[in-house]
Point group: C2
Chain length 410, copies 2
């Protein structure tokens, strides 16, 4: 039994190899959940996990658990994980780092012939990204936040369901989803912001999540012939959506840097050159450091909707507004992350996460810790997303040390 | 042999019956080209045509020709027609009136036992509307303006082609498309504007088509995480599209009433809540009374694109610009329309058509005449589209009288 050490080369090689599946022209990846590329990525992960001697279990939500048995198999395991699915297109690191660093952690333990008291399970959660079906899904089902039956009927734009796509790609497993004890959950992730980069820290200990909001607005106009209807009588729903998108962006600019909001989704009907649109659907997403800030954004958006309806012949309706409240993460795991980083000589800082992670769901199951490493200029959900090899390595080293502590707790 | 007379009741009943196929909740119809509903509409038309003793021929473009033989079968026929496909949703009259009035014309001849020197063919042209595949299609192939092979590969948003959909609905005929002599073409249509209504005229003799233009603009931004990218660094392509849609509408307002332009189609990528759009495609359609006016609109749109690119961190590119030039219709048929209207006591006027009709294609094949009747408030491409029964009747009466003259010419 020696001292377990991460192989920086192997970790980086795995990241680049996984990134080659669904590779895009500008260096990103497109492995949208339950696509052929997601299937290939899962297959590769399972191959590597078996190569490392892990037992694989797939649950009915398609979550993959690769287990390294502990000295006491009756103790609830430490879980380490994240997701292999990406945005459309996405980068090579978001989610992937957390899964593949977990795999390298157990390989490091294997190489050093180190056993742990508790089992360690490396998890690939199904459909974290939400680029095709509603996101934070697999971990949400595991945590009891989304009923399995509901999730299996989630339907994409082309009419395919989660249930049928899980079967099609061969990942509709038989294990029940959740309902079992988990001791702790650790997730290593790129920051997706630029606080670490700007401060010079290499390790981030994530204190809390942010106040989110999101809404769907419908703008109602009236169909008409776009070659014959007089301009002054047109009730073009796209015009209302355009005004609203600009207002929403301006509200975001006003709240910067504490809060942000953009309209990012638009659907226009009938979306046919010769017919004036009668319905536009606009969706926006709010992130804010404070609950009051989030409420102010929602109020301003509603005011803008009313103003636009008054200025034009269009009407606007809120279809629904979603909320997600701030969560605060386990103080003990925060301190452990800081302690381990310090032992290894990495400067660390505490910071919030703006966006969602599977850890926001495991938080409801067990004490949970998120460890951040820098990503270049805070860019993610982009082919330009980048994590320096030494930062990926640093994160995996912190993860390994933290895992050794946690997995040996009684 | 008596005096042939249109049955107002039968014509109206047929219009309402056809409108019930693909009926929508607010009184319109949705029989988009080559859909199941289009198939049902075609089947009903063929049933009525056979009931009237007509011979049906379907060509490789799915155009349906229902022929009433003439005394001299060697003479090129008079064609009367329009289209049964609709917008999504559309009304009960656009196109449908021209086909079903043609059918009632031959029934009137049958009832009165009147033979004509030339054959009369009632035509339902495939996919005039362009709501699913590029429009003015069936008549365009017939006129040699669109190669059949090209049209058969037109693909809709879901990946279905014209060729496969024609086969699926059973209207991939065997007759060659076009390449035969046609003596004259007459098309009865609702005006889709409000000049007739405003002037009190009941019959419109269409002098010419308008100057059209249309374009596709791409607005390029950069993907990014919509929960973490700082507002000031977002390059949201949807924001550029929104600014441009507003500019285009303002340019249209400036040219009213001679010209009009709106953005009516928007496609946003990746159109995913959590990812800042990197690409928006915006499409617009120009109609203008003058060529200079159309050019001015195009210039102003390009100026707006440059201004928006300069103001934002986005770039804009013209994907392509389409043009369609003014066409002038046959003076003899114009005079005939006016003469017949006057004989029947209907006030008439000359006016242009702003939008396209299959007649714009048959114009390249033979002398062509378009007869307009009023539509309520000029509204069309809408479930609210409406033609008064007495106006449909008046149009069919003028069509019958004109057809009797033309079909008996040597």
């Amino acid at each position: 039994m020696g001292s377990p050490e991460i192989s920086s080369d192997r970790l980086w090689s795995d990241l680049m190899t996984m990134g080659a599946i669904g590779a895009t022209s500008r260096g990103g990846s497109c492995r949208v959940a339950l696509s052929d590329a997601d299937c290939e990525g899962r297959n590769l992960f399972c191959y590597w996990a078996r190569e490392a001697g892990l037992d694989i279990k797939i649950d009915q939500a398609g979550n993959i658990f690769a287990r390294r048995e502990g000295l006491d198999p009756t103790l609830p395991p430490l879980m380490i994980g994240s997701h292999l699915d990406t945005q459309t297109p996405g980068g090579k690191f978001d989610g992937v780092l957390g899964v593949l660093a977990g795999l390298e952690v157990v390989r490091a333990l294997n190489r050093a012939d180190v056993k742990t008291k508790r089992a360690i399970e490396i998890v690939d959660w199904t459909n974290e990204e939400g680029a095709r079906f509603p996101g934070l899904m697999g971990s949400g089902i595991f945590a009891g936040k989304i009923p399995l039956e509901t999730a299996l009927t989630f339907t994409d734009k082309d009419g395919y369901t989660v249930g049928s796509e899980l079967k099609r790609i061969g990942y509709a497993g038989s294990a029940p989803v959740g309902g079992r004890d988990v001791y702790r959950y650790l997730e290593l992730h790129i920051e997706q912001g630029d606080l670490l980069q700007n401060s010079g820290a290499i390790i981030g200990a994530v204190t809390n999540s942010s106040w989110w909001g999101g809404g769907t607005i419908k703008i109602h106009g009236e169909n008409g012939h776009s070659q014959t209807a007089p301009m002054s009588r047109r009730r073009n729903a796209l015009i209302g959506a355009a005004k609203l998108a600009l207002e929403i962006e301006a509200i975001g600019a006003r709240h910067e840097p504490e809060g942000m909001v953009s309209a990012t989704v638009i659907d226009c009907l009938p979306n046919n050159l010769i017919n004036i649109p009668h319905l536009c659907t606009l969706k926006y997403l709010i992130v804010h450091a404070t609950e009051d800030g989030r409420e102010d954004v929602i109020t301003r958006i509603r005011d803008a909707m009313a103003k636009i309806a008054a200025e034009t012949s269009l009407s606007t309706t809120d279809d629904y507004i979603r909320y997600r409240e701030r969560q605060d993460f386990d103080e003990r795991l925060l301190k452990l992350t800081e302690h381990v980083a310090s032992e290894l000589g990495y400067p660390s800082m505490r910071l919030p996460t703006l966006t969602g992670h599977d850890a926001l769901n495991t938080h409801f199951v067990c004490p949970t810790g998120i460890i951040f490493v820098p990503c270049k200029d805070g860019i993610s959900h982009s082919e330009l997303e980048w994590c320096e090899p030494e930062h990926a390595y640093a994160g995996a080293r912190v993860l390994l040390r933290a895992a050794l502590v946690v997995a040996n707790e009684a």
